[in-house]
Every structure is written in C-alpha cells, then in structure tokens.
C-alpha cells in the first residue's frame, strides 16, 4: 500500500508536468485550431536559457522568472513571425511549419549547448520528506505545488480580467470579437506567449529529473499529447485532469505490469492516444462539434 501511495504521488508530480505542457497545447488549439508540435522543443529551449542565466550567477528564482518573461516574448515573436503567414493555410501546412520549428529549435540548441546531457538544479531540498511510513521526494511535492499555483493563476486570469475575457472571446468567435474592437491577431499572439510560458514551467520542473538535453522533451510531449487527448483538446480543465491521470497511469502501469516496465513507455502513450480517439474522440471533458456541410 505504501508503495502504491508513493507511486501515485510521484505520478502526480510527472502528471503536473504533462498537465502544464498539455495546457499549453490546448490553449493554442482552442485559439487557432493548431496542434503545436514544437511546444516541447520551445520548452526545452527555454530551459536551456534558464541554464545559461543560472551559469551567469543569477539566483534560481530570479532566473526562473526571467525565463518565463523571455519565453512569453519568444512565444509572441514565433506567432507573429513564423505562424502568422500560414494562419489561414490548410492544416497540413501548419503542421509542417511547426515540425520545421521543432527541428530548428532542437538543432540550434544542440549547436549552441552541444548534445551532452547537463544536470539542472532543483529549487527544492534534496532530502526526502517522510510522512508516516511513506517517503516523498521534495522535488515531486514542489512540482505538484508549482503546477497548482500556475493553474490557479491561469484560472484567475481568464475568469476575472478583461484581457482574459477578450482572449476567450477571440478564440470562440473571432468575427464578432473583431466587431467589438478586440484585436484578434494580437490575442492569438498572446495565447502563444502564455503557452510558451507554461511550456517553460514544465521544462524547468522536469529538467532536474530527466537532465537537460536537446531531445529531452520528445517523450514528455507525447505524454502531453496523450493528456490533452484524454482530457479533450477543447477543454483546459480536461488537459489538467488528463495530465494527472496520464501521469498516475504511467507510473502504476510501469510498477505493476511487469512486462511493460520503462522499456515500452512510448507504446503505453501511443495506446492511450489511440484508445481514447477510438472510444471517445472528444476526450473526457471535450465538446464535439457538428460541422455544417
């Protein structure tokens, strides 16, 4: 039983990371109907920037916040420069452009920082926390905490600020929003900026666990895809719940189903994506739309 609880908690910790990245994917999907395949590599790149800031001697939390600001600006810049020209192009073109972005970011990171894995510091103490008989990693608990704080801030932003309302309006009905005087293009760019920020949070939390490396987000992005699919690509709440669900499932399957272990992790994610798409394509919380012909 103790092992079970321990595994659930560490599943929640990785789940928080998937949730942040899935949330980033869902935000962009809601606003522009695009799945951003470069989301993971944008997060990876932000984490490398944070590493550079730390190397320059900044304290952890200063570097953390600075990275978030840079990631936000970078996300906006990418939307304006790279995505905007294909905004109204067919899905295939947009997918190809985001794939292009992915390989550019991975190779530039490899170019600048080399492909050798780097350790990344955790802001939380190294010693485990013991509650009763069960041992929790401090980083795991911290990761869950950070994820929850970020989610709360996001909820407050979208629920109670005018800008948040404008962004939701722009995503839901661009034409009417434009008539109300909302600058829809800029709202989309803001969405990309926010998504990049969440990605950066996910990257900085996961880097102490998986080590910093240009390909570090590949597997995590697949799990974030799985999380967004489970929760439904049209629902931010779904992405969060999906993230935690997928994280816990991954850990429990890895622990208790002996033939899977860690070697078939990607296959588990693939199976989850396909099963959800077949059984309930809109996900747990998503809405399905009826299209007019």
């Amino acid at each position: 039983m103790d092992i079970f609880i321990q595994q659930v908690v560490s599943g929640l910790a990785t789940g928080g990371i998937y949730a942040s990245l899935a949330l980033a994917l869902v935000m962009i999907y809601q606003a522009t109907d695009v799945v951003n395949f470069a989301q993971g590599s944008m997060a990876m790149f932000s984490t490398y920037l944070c590493w550079s800031l730390l190397q320059a001697g900044l304290p952890y939390w200063v570097a953390f916040v600075a990275t978030l600001v840079i990631a936000f600006a970078g996300g906006i810049l990418i939307e304006r420069v790279v995505i905007r020209p294909v905004e109204n192009a067919p899905i295939l073109s947009i997918v190809i452009v985001t794939i292009g972005l992915l390989v550019i970011l991975v190779s530039v990171a490899g170019w600048i920082y080399s492909y050798i894995q780097k350790p990344f510091p955790s802001p939380f103490p190294n010693k485990p926390i013991k509650i009763g008989n069960i041992v929790f990693g401090a980083h795991d608990l911290g990761a869950i905490g950070i994820t929850l704080v970020v989610l709360l801030l996001l909820f407050l932003f979208f629920r109670y600020t005018t800008l948040g309302l404008a962004m939701r309006a722009a995503a839901q009905n661009p034409t009417s929003s434009r008539l109300c005087g909302i600058r829809v293009g800029w709202m989309l760019a803001l969405g990309w900026g926010l998504a990049a920020t969440f990605g950066a949070v996910a990257g900085m939390i996961v880097a102490p666990v998986v080590f910093l490396d240009p390909n570090m987000m590949g597997g995590i992005q697949i799990y974030a895809f799985a999380a967004a699919t489970v929760g439904g690509f049209t629902s931010p709440l779904g992405a969060v719940v999906g993230g935690f669900l997928v994280g816990v499932t991954e850990n429990l399957v890895g622990t208790y189903v002996s033939f899977i272990g860690t070697e078939l992790k990607m296959t588990v994610a693939l199976a989850m994506i396909i099963i959800v798409l077949l059984v309930k394509p809109s996900g747990l919380f998503g809405r399905s739309f009826v299209r007019r012909v």
Partner: protein
Amino acid sequence: MARVGGAALKTAGLALVLAVACALPFAMSGFRVFQFTQVLIYAIAILGLNMLTGFNGQISLGHGAFYGIGAYTTAIMIDKWNIGYGWTIPVAAAVCLVVGFLFGRPALRLEGLYLALATFALALAVPQILKYFEHWTGGSQGIVLSKPKAPWGLPLNEDQWLYFVTLGVLIVLFILASNLLSGRTGRAIKAIRDNHIAAEAMGVNSALYKSVVFGVSAAYTGVAGALSGIAIAFVAPDTFDVFLSFTLLTGVVIGGLATISGAIFGALFVQFVPNWAQDISKAAPWAIFGIFLIVFMYVMPHGIAGFLRLLWIRMTRSAVMRGKAEGEVQ
C-alpha cells in the same frame, strides 16, 4: 501541335534521365554509387508518404516506423531463416501493407491533426518496440547482414548490383503509382483529400479508399526500408526514430506535395544536403531542413516539382501566345 511536342519532349526527357541513371554507377566510385542507391531508396519511401499525405490528405508523421518494419522484416528473414534476399522484399511489402491497413482502419476516425498525433506517437514507439523483442531483433545491437553479390556472373560489383536492383524496383513502383494515381482511382483519392463529404456524396467509398491508400503507402515505405536494410547491411532500432519520419516528410515537401516526380528531387535533397551541411556543424543539417520546410510552405507549397511544372506552363503558354500573335499579323 504544341501538345504533341510536349508529350514527345516528356518521353525524350524520361529516356534521357533513365539513360543517365543507368550510366551513373559506371562513372563513379563505390561510395558514390552507394549514396545514389540511397537516393533511389529514399525516393521510393517519399513517393509512398506522398501518396498518403500529398494525394490523399492524410498527415503521417510516422512513416519512419513502416520503413523500420520493412527493414526488420528483411533482416530477420535473412538472419534467422536464411531466405534469399529477393524474396524478402515482397514479404516486407506485404507485412507493411497489412500493418498499414490495420493502422489506417482506426485512423479513419481520426481527422487531420489527430492522425498526425497518432502517427507521431507511432514514430516514437517503434524503436522501443524493436528493442523490446530482443530475441528477434537483436535489441539495441541490431542485426548485421552481408551484401549480396551479383548473380549469373554479371560483371558488376556489390554496390553496382544493388543500385540496379533498387533502380528496377523504383521504376516498377513509380509506374504502378502513376497508374494508381491517374484515372478514376486517382480522382477518388484526390477528391477525398479536397472534400471528403462531397466525395462520399458522389459515391466514393471514402473509408475503403483511405485505408487502402494507407496500406499501399506503408508498403512502398516498407519496400524502401527493406532495400535500405540490404544496402547498408545493418539494421538498428535507433536509426528508425522520429527524425527519419521528419526526413521523409522533408523530402515530400521539398520535392512537391502531390507530385510523383517530386519524390526524386526530394530524395536528392535529403540525401546530399546533410552531407554538405555536416561540414558546418553536426547540428546544421536539421537547422537547414527546418528552414527549408518553413520557407517552402510560404513560397513554394508545391515544392520543386510544382515550381518546374509552373515554369514549364509559363514557357509553353508564352510560346503559344507568341505563335498566335504572329499568326494574326500574317
């Protein structure tokens, strides 16, 4: 008159390309011949992916998986059962046809982006699966093969023989593809891409077409994988990673979405550009691939083949116009 001239010119052009392709292996060193064999192999795989993505509009980011399955089918058959090289290629095609068809079946319900997601996950999962069945696949070590020698006492070395085998397979597959993609079937395949609801209203069995195209596309890529396993004489799981899928996608985009000849241009690009770029930095090839992917989407969405076709139309049209104008003056 201009039409007849165009067709004759096209035939002459094809004959010239074929003659150059046949002369190539006698004019170059062994390593260059091997590189051009690789170009032909890529061209087959890229044509396969283009059938699915360019012509039928189903986005696959995971065709490297089928390439790997084809390569492993061949390698396991040769390594474990000592079966002749030639027989393994049709078997690899059949295995990939079935796997592709079976993957394409549920994928029918996944539109656009969701299919891209599922195939992306497939591309990441396959290397792990290959490592997992260590008994068959040799795990991370892979399987080492030996290159086949030319039969019937032909005066060709191993590289030249493989080149001609690949060229033969390529010609057959290109003719089949061009027949499949023209006429009634081809129109149906393209109609599904452009508007599947309208296509269904016209009586096209969209589900059947889509899963068959998925199967055929996977089979083409599987044949390419089988040939590459034989040509390199080595297969290992990590060579069939997600970046192989991106390489094939880059080939499709550079060569030209929904074009048949584009596969050759795309294959030349993905084979030779990284070689040159590697001199700059180990990371440079992918930076260049990425930049080309994005820039082509902005300015040349139909790739090199589409650009050449446009150029050809402009030239012939202006020639026809000039002819007309002269006729009027007289």
